[in-house]
């Protein structure tokens, strides 16, 4: 009976752990995506400045 209780607890913990691990991967994926997006935004805003320089000199 004791084994039974342990076994039940273990399977519940495993399911909880799997949900946590999935969330951890979600976090990692989101962070990578954000990082890429930030570097894209910076590069673009930098390019825009260069492009615009001859046309729109600072006032």
């Amino acid at each position: 009976f004791l084994e039974d209780v342990k076994c039940q607890a273990k399977s519940e913990l495993q399911a909880c752990e799997s949900r946590y691990q999935a969330q951890l991967r979600v976090t990692q994926t989101l962070q990578t995506e954000l990082l890429q997006l930030y570097s894209r935004v910076e590069m673009e805003s930098c390019n825009n400045k260069l492009d615009n320089q001859p046309l729109c000199p600072p006032q």
């Binding site: 076994c7 399977s11 519940e12 399911a15 799997s18 949900r19």
Partner: protein, 293 residues
């Protein structure tokens, strides 16, 4: 109870008119009342008998570990599964990886890739690879069997993972095994397939890597998957064998390209009979599991 003539008569009658499953259904219901569920007995049952469709999804979930053996944990664990599914879906939407017009099977693939840490970068999504196509084929078939998307995703993921973990090493040997049993059953057909060069080009990938997803209609397919999910990949060999045997007369008159073309797109009418005969043949060669059910 076994001596009850009325009961035996009734079973024989059901057998004749196609209600063969009545006795089996009752014994499955008894198994499903166990707490904790006896996974080994459920596997044995599923190896021996077709699962009644009303219990199929539940038994698959238990055998694939989506639900634990203890029935009183099902609500808790089911809740965890739902949250996990919803969180992954939400993140992919936030990343604009998927949107409302993405085909559901592709959604399942991206979710699976995220969970397996192989999600490609959104800006440079590569063309689908063979493994992705296997996953998508299985998804398309599962989607025809399972209505609820959350259940569907979990069943696809766990079926795909369990199949590859358990049988990945056996898969390369299945074509040889098929050749062996064909030599026992119909050596003339084997010779014909060998001499035309068709043997090496049989659709092994859809048959074995995709467990006949895309080859058999879902009503027949799910009876094959009952066996795979409960622990046999050998059944796949016998389904392939029975397809060859069922069409041997046509196949004997075909050259290589015709054989390949025919087998990649088999007629969808006879598939129930093919699966029934394949299961009989599998029991004949590999024995029937005899645990007390």
């Amino acid at each position: 109870m076994a001596d009850d003539p009325q009961r035996n008569f009734r079973s024989a009658y059901y057998e004749k008119v196609g209600f063969r499953g009545v006795e089996e259904k009752k014994s499955l219901e008894i198994l499903l009342k166990d707490n904790p569920l006896d996974i080994e007995k459920l596997s044995t049952f599923s190896q021996r008998f077709p699962l009644p469709s009303m219990y199929r999804i539940h038994v698959w979930k238990v055998l694939l570990g989506i639900l634990p053996p203890h029935s009183d944990s099902h609500a808790l664990v089911g809740g965890y599964r739902r949250e996990q599914y919803e969180n992954i879906l939400e993140a992919l939407e936030a990343m604009r990886f998927i949107n409302s017009s993405t085909p559901t099977t592709e959604v399942y693939l991206r979710m699976f890739q995220l969970e397996s840490q192989v999600l490609p970068r959104r800006s440079e999504i590569p063309p689908m690879e063979e493994e992705d196509e296997d996953f998508l084929s299985i998804s398309r078939a599962m989607e025809e069997i399972i209505v609820d998307p959350m259940d569907c995703y979990w069943l696809i993921k766990c079926f795909y993972n369990q199949f590859n973990t358990k049988f990945g090493d056996s898969l390369p040997h299945l074509p040889k095994s098929l050749e062996h049993y064909l030599s026992q059953e119909e050596p003339r057909l084997l010779n014909h397939l060998k001499s035309t060069g068709a043997l090496a080009q049989l659709p092994y990938d859809p048959w074995f890597n995709r467990c006949f997803a895309g080859t058999l209609p879902e009503s027949s397919l799910q009876r094959v998957w009952d066996k795979v999910i409960s622990g046999s990949c050998k059944i796949l060999v016998f389904v392939g064998l029975e397809i060859l045997l069922s069409y041997k007369i046509s196949l004997m008159g075909m050259n290589r390209p015709e054989v390949v073309k025919f087998l990649c797109n088999i007629p969808q009418e006879n598939t129930d009979a093919i699966v029934t005969k394949a299961i009989d043949l599998w029991h004949k060669y590999c024995g029937t599991p005899m645990h007390s059910v």
